[in-house]
Point group: C2
Chain length 192, copies 2
């Protein structure tokens, strides 16, 4: 798959110390969930096992649900939730959103304790916390219980300052512009 | 793979108008290339075909090279270049970096004309332009020639204002903090 311009040999980094990182992807721009998915793809290349837990995905089909099936048994995906709490048109009461997010937290604890994954993606957990569907103490508890070699990626708007403080790597993804503001509908493969 | 909390049925979006978007991912934070890779994963779920052209990847192994092999024949990846031009330790002269980037532009034109892809990732092209390895006119020419339904994703630091102007969706990924600033080595699956 390489061309004549590709390097003659490939060098490999081998960190002296393996360390499980806490990565936060926040901000109002496009690219938080897709960046987490890209890390899953990258992790597969190293033979690492990933688990994606989507906190607020709801019932709207997302391409990654079938995309990750192609990655085989290295990746597991769970989509929980009833869509975005509080946005127009969402018919579910707060209590139901909260009960779903609480189930997702139990699932994270179970997957963390199981020890079978190298990378755990907590998709939209920042937003779930911001909307009080889960409590700050619960997320801090997750971070406290994180096994040293497990990578934890927390995505979603409005990451809590305490979580940012605890993280190793944090990116804020800012919207400079977005196609939907010009009336362009969400496009499969790009937006969902 | 879903739990009891998952929705009872899945809704599908079907945009009335399909449109190939120009997406720019720029900024100094972690998440540009990984976000583009996540879009590839997502596109696979919709049965769309992707081509990734890495402009400045060089000879350092990246997990996505093997990760994308798992996605099968929907994805093609080309890594060109001799690593980052101008950074400490890079032994190649400017002319060689430029020649490589020029080859990559030819490859993009070839893939665009071939018409076999729905999503074309131009990884680090913003940076290649910023370093004068390619010219602004060449990138504008790519945008002018883009087939209407092809999605084009341009990643890398220092996106040119003219390219931002031309794009449909632009995210700036800002570094709030990064593990390497505390002396933590790059970790496989997360950083490469």
């Amino acid at each position: 798959m390489t061309r004549g311009t590709a390097p003659d040999k490939i060098d490999h980094l081998h960190p002296e110390k393996r360390q499980g990182l806490v990565v936060v992807l926040t901000g109002d721009g496009k690219g938080k969930t897709s960046s987490a998915l890209g890390m899953v793809l990258r992790a597969c290349g190293h033979g690492l096992r990933s688990c994606i837990i989507q906190f607020m995905k709801g019932d709207l089909y997302a391409g990654e649900w079938d995309g990750i099936k192609r990655l085989g048994d290295l990746v597991e995906l769970h989509h929980t939730g009833k869509g975005f709490c509080g946005i127009q048109g969402n018919p579910y009461p707060y209590e139901e959103h909260r009960a779903n997010a609480q189930d997702a937290i139990d699932l994270v604890l179970e997957k963390m304790a199981g020890g079978q994954f190298d990378l755990l993606i907590l998709d939209e957990i920042n937003n779930a916390l911001h909307l009080n569907l889960i409590d700050l103490e619960q997320v801090i508890d997750l971070l406290d219980r994180k096994p040293p070699l497990l990578h934890l990626v927390l995505t979603g708007h409005n990451a809590h300052p305490t979580i940012i403080e605890r993280a190793d790597t944090v990116s804020e993804i800012r919207e400079i512009k977005h196609a939907f503001r010009r009336g362009i509908e969400p496009q499969p493969g790009i937006d969902y």
